[in-house]
């Protein structure tokens, strides 16, 4: 070939190299643009005119249109302008909820008939939970990704089946019947990423019973789970996360003693204990925490956040501490990092930290952030206590 020269000889200028790329490659770039923008490429040239209409990805945000009527008109007309047999692989809709409930469900139905795989629906303006999701979605067998934000799911009367679902994110979704939330993970056999944030229950909605949890927990589910995240005010169904590798949970304190199930794959855990003024102290908190550690033999990274507002009855009752009989296996052989945010310097907290310090054989970094409202004296006392324990890892204190 050409012997090495001092200047790189590009035989064809890059503009020509791009223009000879096939349509499918150009469409790859267009598919990352919101549909409104990809439509503007129709005036680039005659060759480009039909490209945007051959895209299998649709992405509409109501806020980029002057009003919802235009938005609604545009979505309809795009659906109609496209080749009718052309699949819709992905639909991202950010909509308002006023006046368009039937239209939104209509768009979803149209997408389902065209083999939709990725659906991301978010209601961004208007009243919360105004949109009730069409029940047809529960039998959509082509879905691999489902993301829902700010809408209502009425009592599910049909079978739910998501054989291909890999990612499920439910953010600020309101259920009429709390038992229905379980229908999602239980009917998604290959689910890898499961996230529930700010779960809501319709006022007057039925809570789940202990019996329901214990019956449901006997079913093996979510064996492919890699990542999970859950935050809700109600009982957290820990059995769902048995196979998770990465887990983030926000729990409200106090809580009845959650039955802890095996977490045999767990390598990363982030726990937030949340309580406000009206809640009592959860006296068995650290005992429960140790139980979780006992059940997580592979845990390498542990993060604990305490979001506790000022508690009125400070000093009257506190969580108790008791050294466990057996040292959790993860401490002896796995735990590499430990982060504790919102430490108040209470005895039980310091005893927990000390227990971790004394029993972690492979710990590399420990980070303690004290609660922002702590007074300097108490903070200084805490640092003195922490610094005095012998260690061979990095300690960061804030």
């Amino acid at each position: 070939m050409s012997s090495s020269t001092s200047q790189p000889q590009r035989s064809i200028p890059t503009e020509d190299r791009i223009s000879i790329l096939p349509d499918s490659i150009l469409c790859r770039i267009l598919s990352f643009l919101p549909t409104k923008l990809s439509a503007t490429t129709s005036i680039l040239s005659k060759r480009w005119k039909p490209l945007w209409l051959s895209l299998l990805h649709l992405d509409f945000d109501v806020q980029s249109f002057i009003d919802f009527n235009t938005f609604r008109h545009v979505v309809y007309s795009v659906m109609l302008s496209r080749e009718v047999t052309l699949p819709i692989k992905s639909l991202r809709l950010k909509s308002c909820s006023e006046h368009v409930v039937n239209d939104i469900n209509g768009f979803i139905n149209a997408a389902m008939q065209r083999g939709i795989e990725y659906l991301d629906l978010e209601i961004t303006t208007g009243k919360d939970f105004e949109l009730t999701l069409t029940p047809n979605i529960f039998s959509c067998k082509t879905l691999t990704v489902l993301k829902l934000k700010n809408l209502t799911v009425n009592k599910i009367l049909t079978q739910v089946h998501f054989p291909l679902l890999e990612i499920l994110h439910l953010d600020k979704v309101r259920f009429s019947c709390y038992e229905d939330i379980f229908k999602f993970p239980l009917s998604s056999p290959i689910l890898e990423d499961f996230s529930v944030n700010d779960l809501q229950l319709r006022p007057g909605g039925k809570f789940i019973s202990e019996k329901f949890i214990s019956e449901t927990s006997k079913v093996k589910c979510l064996t492919n789970l890699v990542k999970a995240s859950y935050s809700a005010r109600q009982n957290i169904p820990l059995f769902l996360f048995t196979w998770a590798h990465i887990l983030r949970i926000k729990l409200r304190c106090p809580h009845p003693f959650y039955k802890v199930h095996s977490l045999h794959n767990l390598t990363q855990l982030e726990l937030t204990f949340f309580s406000n003024n009206m809640d009592n102290i959860w006296s068995g908190k650290w005992k429960w925490m140790l139980e979780v550690l006992q059940h997580s033999p592979k845990l390498q990274h542990l993060t604990i956040h305490q979001e506790i507002e000022k508690i009125k009855n400070i000093g009257i009752s506190e969580a108790y501490w008791e050294d466990p009989q057996i040292v959790p296996q993860c401490l002896s052989s796995q735990l590499k990092t430990f982060l504790f945010r919102g430490c108040r310097g209470k005895n039980s907290e310091l005893q927990f930290i000390e227990y971790i310090m004394q029993n972690s054989k492979v710990l590399r970094t420990m980070t303690i952030h004290s609660i922002s409202s702590i007074d300097l004296n108490a903070k200084h006392q805490m640092l003195k206590k922490l610094a005095v324990w012998p260690r061979n890892y990095k300690l960061i204190f804030d």
Partner: protein, 160 residues
Amino acid sequence: MAQEASSSTSSKTISLKTGDGEIFEIEASAAKQMKTVQRLIDDLGDDITIPLHNVFSKELPKIIEYYKKDITGEITKDFEAEFVKDLNDDEVKVLFLAANYLDANKLFEFLSQNIADRLESKSVEYVRKYFGVENDFTPEEESKLREERAWSFRGIKEDE
């Protein structure tokens, strides 16, 4: 991280020769991610320097850097942001074409997204130049189209 199926190639390096005659080394496991390279290896053997006529010494190191991180599973959003931060639009285009030529899917997807992000705020004329598109519409045809798609042009940056 991921275990290589063929242990014999896991620590082997492959020599790549750019269109301007410079030689670079990459791990065999990174070469696997570039399907064009892998095909050439399958045809020519892994002891021969693989010629890449359409990739040059300016961009190949960047591509190698990306896949070095990929095989250790260290590609994060921060890394990707850093990776394109100092590149101008033309440099990204050159990398994109190289990723396409090399059939390096992950890099190709990432750069497609990046190009889309960059073009989002640009004028129609800029996009035409960028893609080397010749406008073959008459002025009347173009203004008619613009009218039909008025909803998409509202809020778009106009040409000078």
